[in-house]
């Protein structure tokens, strides 16, 4: 993975000094709260209802075991001994003290980590496929260009105060696993006539106004990605709305102008910057790419694996094909039933770091589904890895299954939330605790967000759950049929929302409709696409009072 050199180290060390000084001036009253807010946000620091929330970047998902050990240490020393992985390659701490944050940053900088631009109205962390570099379906490894983009986004002088946050995702596989259709800029690496380049998608996003991105350029040779992004950002910085935060994302601008007019403006702007100094040189690409060479794989045959049903369940759900024979990528599940999805304790972080050192070249990745990946495990080691992961509580075989829920921190932790999300996730996990049944239900993405900001990606869940606030009570709106990947689309709202305690039943009914209607070999989504939303709707609202009848019922109660 990428190792810092002198300039990278200098910049993050100076960032620590800068933030220490900003905190000092804020404490001394030299910076007002309003003046300090954007500065602390650009260092990942929110001030929340219980305590600050602090977001640490894991650029394009890559981490070393040493970095994870430092996160374990930081979570223990400055917080309550656990952290939360988000859907955008960050680790969040929920209870640090503002005054401690400069010290935390200093400790992170020692292992080449930071919190730069992890929140605020700026260029955010670049995200990608958690299997980058090892996926069997990879066309081009996105990591060198992701690192080049990371450097370009870091303290960009012209785009530090954008109308709103700006998220870039990059993918290099046949099947998109980076949600590129739903980012401000989605970049899909591809090859055309022997040349490597990007399909550039702009104006996607989830949140309050979910919109699938649109292609502004079918093919852009890789050397031009920085100048082209500068053109996009300049058009957005100048014209994006600043009068209304809800209409300030680039997706609104693209919709307002129309994608053709927007693309034309970008091309006109780009005509000035094209071939300029920011054009990436082969030397720079080669320098960065040299950090992402394949580890020293052994020549291995297929391994004979022990015959053990529980182990094979885990193999089926938690391993992923690897491009090198004899190896597999392993997903360590942070979706143990009863634990907040994405949460991990310091002890577990140490256990994962040990596993990475012993079995996967000392490296690991974070997925946007909030799990951890050991990317390079020998198949002959899988049984040992499974046993050790099980002891650490990280081997729940539910990846891609109903209880492998994506979930935001929700109303328990987040000031923005309209409703709690974690208790919904744990209630559903408790209802579907029978592993055989989970396997029988098969592949299904259940995503939960506690508000319309959609950090839990509910729009692209096969079943999506959105927390809403109605007259100061928490309710949950259900969508069906959303999906990520190449055919990414938004789910459809099934109907009126539900109370929290209804949710396990609602999910149960949806699953039953699928099971009763499915053809052999049909996944949930296949059946849904074939039979449509109505059978699900009818079952879920069957016998449920509506309108006046409901009001009368409530009155009687």
């Amino acid at each position: 993975m990428y190792k810092y050199d002198a300039i990278d180290r200098q910049l993050i060390n100076q960032r620590v000094d800068q933030f220490r000084d900003q905190v000092r001036r804020w404490k001394a009253g030299e910076l007002s709260d309003d003046e300090f807010r954007p500065l602390r946000l650009q260092n990942g620091l929110y001030i929340q209802r219980h305590a600050p929330m602090f977001r640490i970047a894991v650029p394009y998902a890559m981490m070393s075991s040493a970095q994870l050990r430092t996160l374990a240490h930081v979570a223990r020393k400055y917080d309550r001994g656990y952290g939360h992985f988000t859907t955008r390659h960050n680790l969040q701490l929920n209870w640090p003290k503002v005054e401690d944050v400069p010290e935390i940053l200093a400790e992170l900088a020692e292992v080449e980590m930071h919190a730069i631009q992890t929140s605020g109205n700026c260029l955010r962390n670049i995200t990608t496929d958690q299997f980058a570099g090892v996926a069997a379906d990879e066309v081009i490894d996105p990591r060198p260009l992701a690192e080049i983009l990371r450097q370009w986004t870091t303290f960009h002088p012209e785009f530090a105060f954008l109308p709103r946050k700006f998220k870039i995702a990059i993918s290099g596989t046949k099947e998109d696993r980076a949600v590129t259709w739903f980012h401000d800029i989605g970049l899909q690496l591809q090859e055309q006539n022997g040349e490597v380049g990007f399909r550039v998608i702009v104006g996607g996003g989830l949140g309050r106004t979910p919109i699938r991105g649109q292609v502004v350029r079918e093919f852009l040779p890789w050397q031009h990605i920085l100048t082209y992004c500068e053109a996009i950002l300049r058009v957005y910085n100048r014209q994006g709305r600043r009068d209304n935060a809800y209409k300030a994302r680039i997706k609104i601008l693209v919709q307002a102008l129309g994608v053709e007019a927007f693309a034309q403006q970008v091309e006109e702007e780009w005509a000035h910057g094209k071939y300029g100094p920011a054009t990436i040189t082969q030397a720079e690409f080669d320098r960065v790419a040299a950090h992402f060479t394949a580890p020293a794989y052994e020549k291995l045959g297929e391994a004979a694996l022990p015959d053990d049903k529980a182990f094979h369940n885990w193999l089926a759900r938690n391993t992923h094909p690897h491009k090198v024979s004899g190896y597999a990528a392993v997903t360590l599940s942070l979706k143990k039933h009863g634990i907040a999805p994405g949460d991990i304790t310091s002890e577990q972080m140490i256990a994962v770091a040990d596993l990475a050192d012993r079995y996967s070249f000392g490296e690991l990745r974070i997925s946007h589904e909030q799990n951890i990946i050991l990317a390079d495990v020998k198949k002959s080691d899988l049984h040992e890895v499974w046993k050790k992961a099980k002891i650490a509580g990280l081997a729940t075989p539910n990846i891609g299954l109903l209880t492998g829920i994506i979930c935001c921190p929700g109303g328990d932790f987040c000031d923005l939330a309209n409703a709690k999300s974690i208790p919904i996730a744990t209630a559903i996990q408790a209802r579907f605790d029978d592993l055989d049944y989970l396997f029988d239900i098969g592949e299904i993405d259940l995503n939960i967000s506690g508000c319309m900001n959609a950090c839990g990606h509910h729009h692209v869940g096969h079943i999506g759950v959105l927390g809403v606030d109605k007259n100061d009570s928490e309710f949950y709106q259900v969508t069906l049929g959303g999906r990520q990947g190449n055919e990414a689309k938004l789910g459809k709202v099934i109907g009126p929302s539900f109370a929290a305690d209804e949710m396990p039943d609602v999910v149960d009914k949806i699953i039953k409709v699928y099971i009763e209607n499915r053809h052999p070999d049909e996944r949930f989504l296949d059946t849904f696409d074939r039979i449509g939303i109505d059978p699900f709707k009818n079952r879920v609202y069957e016998g449920r009072a509506h309108g006046k009848a409901k009001a009368a019922q409530q009155e009687a109660a």
């Binding site: 100076q14 954007p38 870091t154 303290f155 002088p157 990436i280 040189t281």
Partner: protein
């Protein structure tokens, strides 16, 4: 009166900025004598008149005003002031980049409005060379520390046209 920083030192501001009062229009407002920074609308409405009676002319650009509209006039201006009504409004950074990089403006480029310590580094990089620091802020400390939180930068910009990767040994 904002505190002006120029060439890394506190400087006395000799310019006055013309402001449109209530009921005044660019077409009718009286043009003061001396070194005046004119709002873009006044410049556009009274260009000939301003040129005939002023040797030293300044221009004020608001965030939503387009550099493209005055690109042909740049030779007239000794100073261009770019207003930041709120420091989180980042449009002025693009305005400055365009003036310097695309239109090769060589005169003084001044950041005015909500100009604060922690934005000076970015402002300098996009091409500002004078800064009207907000009134109650610590001028000495801004000059001492505000321009160099970082010793270098990755990107190409006005102050460093070559990105770091082209300057590697």
């Amino acid at each position: 009166m904002a505190q002006l920083i120029k060439n890394n030192a506190a400087t006395v501001d000799t310019w006055q900025t013309l402001q449109l009062g209530e009921g005044e229009t660019p077409e009718t407002i009286a043009l003061p004598a001396g070194d005046v920074i004119f709002p873009l609308a006044v410049w556009q409405a009274r260009k000939t008149e301003i040129i005939s009676c002023h040797k030293r002319i300044g221009l004020l650009i608001q965030p939503d005003e387009r550099v493209e509209d005055i690109a042909a006039d740049l030779e007239y201006f000794i100073v261009i002031a770019v207003n930041f009504p709120k420091f989180v409004d980042g449009r002025g950074y693009s305005t400055a980049s365009l003036l310097r990089q695309r239109y090769a403006y060589q005169g003084e480029l001044r950041a005015v409005g909500d100009v604060l310590h922690d934005q000076l580094f970015f402002m300098q990089r996009v091409g500002f060379d004078s800064y009207a620091l907000k009134d109650d802020k610590n001028l000495t400390y801004a000059i001492e520390a505000g321009f160099k939180p970082f010793g270098d930068a990755y990107q190409a910009s006005t102050s460093q046209p070559q990105p770091y990767f082209r300057r590697r040994a």
